[in-house]
């Protein structure tokens, strides 16, 4: 026992056992209800898009690791989560090159060039999304995307219909129960409201997302939509359609909560979630876009460093009773 090589590391010598792998694995588990529903509803193409998205995201990260001669970092599953969430925001009919370009932008431009995991100032999946929507808007027209599908519900993308026809026309076309149960046209992982909520609650309970962001986000959607619709019910729809269609719920639970681009202190988190939601409704009601979730959350990502300054005073700061 003389010349033992002991492990000499630093305190603390305990850890709660959490890790990036655990966190990301749990996020992927939480997406399952919505993802499985999406695959059932939109069939094999949906599975293909998700699989390609997830795998290509990991491959891009691997390629970047190799080129920059850094440690292989795909094991933390971060790019898998980016790919998966990115795929959930695509229509099932997306062509392969769209998916692969999108994950390239998301992983390389959204994350790796900023220094990899944790360094991204913006949600990488949303960076990918925004680039694509700006470039190939036609592929995000959900009405056109599913023309060859037979659905047992109104095959109109709710938010586009709302924008194009006004609240008066769409009143009653999209009952809340249908929207929650996924009877609507939309992206693979964004239509099944109930599944997204279950996944979100799972993540909140597991401590992987901070409840303040989704809750203030949802409150923001409801309050703002209500204010608009009370002012002019014929033009502006009430909160239900805003809440349960488009990217709203995936935004509340999976997009706005992305760690490195969102605040960590309580008041900033509340401001962040609420403002993102207000922006979304503004964009839908008076702005240029039918949905707006993607840009609104990115905008709040930009503001994040400024609002996250609001934090409780640290112990012993500013006291001088010594």
């Amino acid at each position: 026992m003389t010349n033992n090589k002991l492990t000499v590391s630093h305190a603390p010598f305990w850890h709660d056992g959490d890790s990036l792998f655990q966190m990301n694995l749990n996020i992927m588990i939480a997406t399952l209800p919505a993802v499985i529903f999406g695959i059932i509803q939109f069939g094999a193409p949906a599975f293909g898009v998700l699989a390609l998205s997830l795998s290509s995201a990991m491959v891009w990260e691997l390629i970047m690791n190799v080129i920059s001669k850094k440690k292989i970092s795909i094991g933390d599953l971060d790019s898998a989560v980016i790919g998966l969430i990115f795929g959930m925001m695509l229509p099932a009919t997306s062509p392969w090159w769209l998916v692969v370009t999108g994950t390239f932008v998301a992983v390389i431009i959204g994350k790796m060039i900023f220094g990899g995991i944790g360094a991204n100032p913006f949600n990488p999946a949303l960076v990918g999304m925004a680039f694509l929507m700006l470039s190939w808007k036609v592929f995000f027209d959900f009405d056109a995307a599913y023309v060859n599908y037979e659905f047992d519900f109104t095959a109109l993308a709710p938010l586009a219909a709302l924008k194009f026809q006004g609240a008066y026309e769409v009143a009653g076309v999209f009952p809340m129960s249908d929207l929650i149960m996924g009877k609507q046209v939309g992206a693979i992982g964004s239509t099944f409201g109930l599944g997204l909520i279950i996944g979100g609650i799972y993540l909140i309970l597991r401590g992987y997302i901070r409840w303040e962001i989704p809750v203030s986000f949802i409150v923001g959607i409801i309050v703002t939509a209500l204010a608009f619709s009370m002012a002019n019910p014929d033009t502006y729809a009430g909160p239900v359609i805003h809440l349960f269609s488009g990217y709203t719920l995936i935004g509340a639970f999976f997009l706005a909560t992305e760690n490195s681009s969102s605040p960590v202190n309580r008041i900033p988190m509340l401001i962040y979630g609420f403002s993102a939601a207000v922006m979304i409704i503004l964009m839908r009601n008076i702005g240029a876009y039918a949905d707006g979730t993607v840009l609104a959350i990115l905008l709040l990502n930009v503001v994040n460093p400024l609002i996250d300054i609001i934090r409780p005073k640290a112990l012993g700061k500013g006291v001088n009773n010594a």
Partner: protein, 194 residues
């Protein structure tokens, strides 16, 4: 003191030379610039709106000031002999900013002859179709001054272009403004045309 003097002299001489030089360049290019502006900015829209005309609208143009803004009016004598006038308005709130619309109105029937988008910064393939593809603005043709030119979503009679509601809205705003302006200024327009 000498330094001060030399500073003032140098600056004055320099500005004077500069001013003189520019004045001469300006006078050398003035006419050509006028022609170019008409040729590239207004003539294509005018052509589309009126087809062949028997006068020179650019020469006969006149200005009327309304609420502090000067509007240029281009009178036209059409093939069929009727008189019309074209002018430009701006619709607020397009995707990339204001959208300019030139509207030609028949002075006898008070109906819109045609309208064309002139200036805009909308997205190619989306909002820009308002200019490139006359189908949308052709909805204004033969509309009277009392027609509701708003989008159907807002209770009017115009169909929006798909995927570019917001551009469509800006264009209709410009058209409505043109209606307004025409109704208010018609007496003065007639006076100027004689």
């Amino acid at each position: 003191m000498r330094e001060m003097m030399s500073m003032i002299i140098v600056l004055t001489v320099l500005t004077a030379v500069s001013g003189g030089l520019l004045a001469s360049v300006k006078s050398g290019t003035e006419d050509r610039i006028e022609q170019q502006i008409f040729k590239f900015q207004l003539a294509p829209a005018m052509n589309d709106i009126f087809g062949k005309v028997s006068n020179d609208p650019a020469k006969e143009k006149f200005e009327i000031e309304h609420e502090g803004i000067k509007y240029k009016f281009f009178p036209a004598k059409l093939e069929d002999g009727s008189k019309a006038v074209a002018f430009q308005t701006k619709g607020k709130g397009g995707y990339g900013g204001d959208v300019g619309l030139m509207v030609g109105i028949d002075l006898d029937s008070d109906q819109i002859v045609a309208a064309r988008v002139t200036t805009h910064s909308e997205t190619p393939g989306l909002g820009a179709r308002a200019k490139d593809d006359p189908e949308f603005v052709s909805q204004f043709e033969e509309k009277t001054m009392d027609a509701n030119l708003a989008l159907k979503g807002q209770g009017g009679s115009i169909d929006a272009m798909s995927g570019a509601t917001i551009t469509s809205q800006a264009v209709t705003l410009a058209a409505i403004q043109a209606q307004d302006l025409y109704k208010k200024l018609k007496p003065e327009i007639l006076k100027q045309i004689k």
